[in-house]
């Protein structure tokens, strides 16, 4: 699971109002090198919740992202590379996503988060 996907996931438990971002429990992180695409990054940037991405990348062991970001920073190659690395190249292979409100864990196995709810959570 890339951090891009983590940035798009929120707790789907019934009644939860504060379900984003999900906290990350790391068991195994894998780095997969992917070709850098500037257009893609520029396109994604406005859609990303930056603080959640920074927090998540730090949990995964990557501390290079700046605390705050604005679109003018996309002109910097160095920034783009860091953004690319955090968003696309870091994968949570094994671990869990945790609902920030209830503490309920959604397992992540082989890079796939399981968001299926139990009957009483729907």
């Amino acid at each position: 699971m890339r951090l891009l996907t983590h940035n798009m996931l929120s707790s789907n438990i019934k009644g939860v109002t504060n379900g984003f971002p999900l906290l990350i429990e790391v068991e195994k992180v894998v780095e997969k090198q992917v070709d850098f695409n500037e257009d893609f990054l520029r396109n994604m940037f406005p859609k990303i919740e930056w603080k959640a991405l920074v927090e998540a990348s730090r949990t995964m062991g990557y501390t290079e992202l700046p605390e705050n970001a604005e679109s003018s920073m996309l002109d910097s190659d160095e920034f783009l590379r860091k953004f690319h690395h955090a968003l696309i190249e870091l994968h949570l292979e094994e671990g869990a996503l945790v609902c920030p409100e209830t503490g309920r864990k959604f397992p992540v196995n082989k890079g796939i988060p399981n968001m299926l709810l139990h009957e009483d959570e729907v």
Binding site: M8, L9, F40, M44, F106, I112, N114, M115
Partner: protein, 222 residues
């Protein structure tokens, strides 16, 4: 030569997962026929709901080719085995999609709202008794309840929420699902539609519908 669609020999399988069949091939054929438009469309986010074996999402990623390095592919399935199979299928084809085991788009709806540029859905469309709908395992691949519409009718409002202004939805339906009524319902929500492919097999008649927001209509209403 680079194949534009997934290859059956590279598609993974599992006893609890729906293997690619006529409906999968029809959807991929419809996408292939629209390939030039899809490329020109420059989608940033493409999503499949109900990825099954991964045949369709892999084909979509392949047919968008090199250009797809600027596209984010995401796929979901309610059946965890299906998601596992899709992962292997994508890997075998050298493609990547982020996969989530979930019911339609549950968990993704809030953040992905208005962001999906292309959505492809081959839903469980077979008319069955209601109790067969939503059972885990392979039956979730076809059980569609009354008129085969139970899951389709759950998916349509989610698609409406997730699709971007320029978003396109490709949906596989049977005659029994009443595709014209689906188009009419969506028209009331401001969508234009077209049957992009029709195919009759011994068993069933498939209609692949393409839906998109008709922004002109919305302006007229205002």
């Amino acid at each position: 030569m680079l194949s534009r669609t997934a290859q059956i020999r590279l598609v993974s399988s599992h006893p609890e997962v729906y293997d690619p069949c006529d409906d999968s091939f029809a959807l991929v054929d419809a996408l292939l026929a629209d390939r030039a438009n899809l490329l020109e469309h420059h989608p940033s986010i493409c999503m499949e709901v109900g990825c099954g074996s991964g045949y369709v999402i892999a084909s979509l990623a392949l047919m968008l080719g090199k250009e797809s390095s600027d596209c984010y592919f995401i796929a979901t399935d309610i059946n965890p085995h299906a998601v596992g199979v899709t992962r292997k299928t994508m890997e075998a084809h050298g493609c990547h999609a982020d996969l989530v085991t979930t019911d339609i788009a549950s968990g993704l709806e809030k953040r992905l709202a208005g962001l999906v540029d292309v959505m492809v859905v081959n839903p469980p469309y077979v008319p069955t008794p209601e109790y067969e709908v939503g059972q885990f395992g392979i039956a979730s691949a076809w059980a569609g309840g009354e008129n085969g519409r139970s899951v389709i009718d759950k998916i349509l409002p989610v698609a409406d929420k997730l699709l971007s202004d320029k978003g396109w939805l490709y949906l596989v339906t049977l005659t029994a699902n009443n595709p014209s009524e689906i188009c009419l319902q969506m028209m009331k929500k401001g969508y234009a539609s077209r049957i992009v492919l029709q195919r009759s097999t011994d068993e069933e008649s498939l209609h692949i519908i393409k839906l998109w927001r008709n922004l002109d209509t919305q302006l007229e209403v205002c």
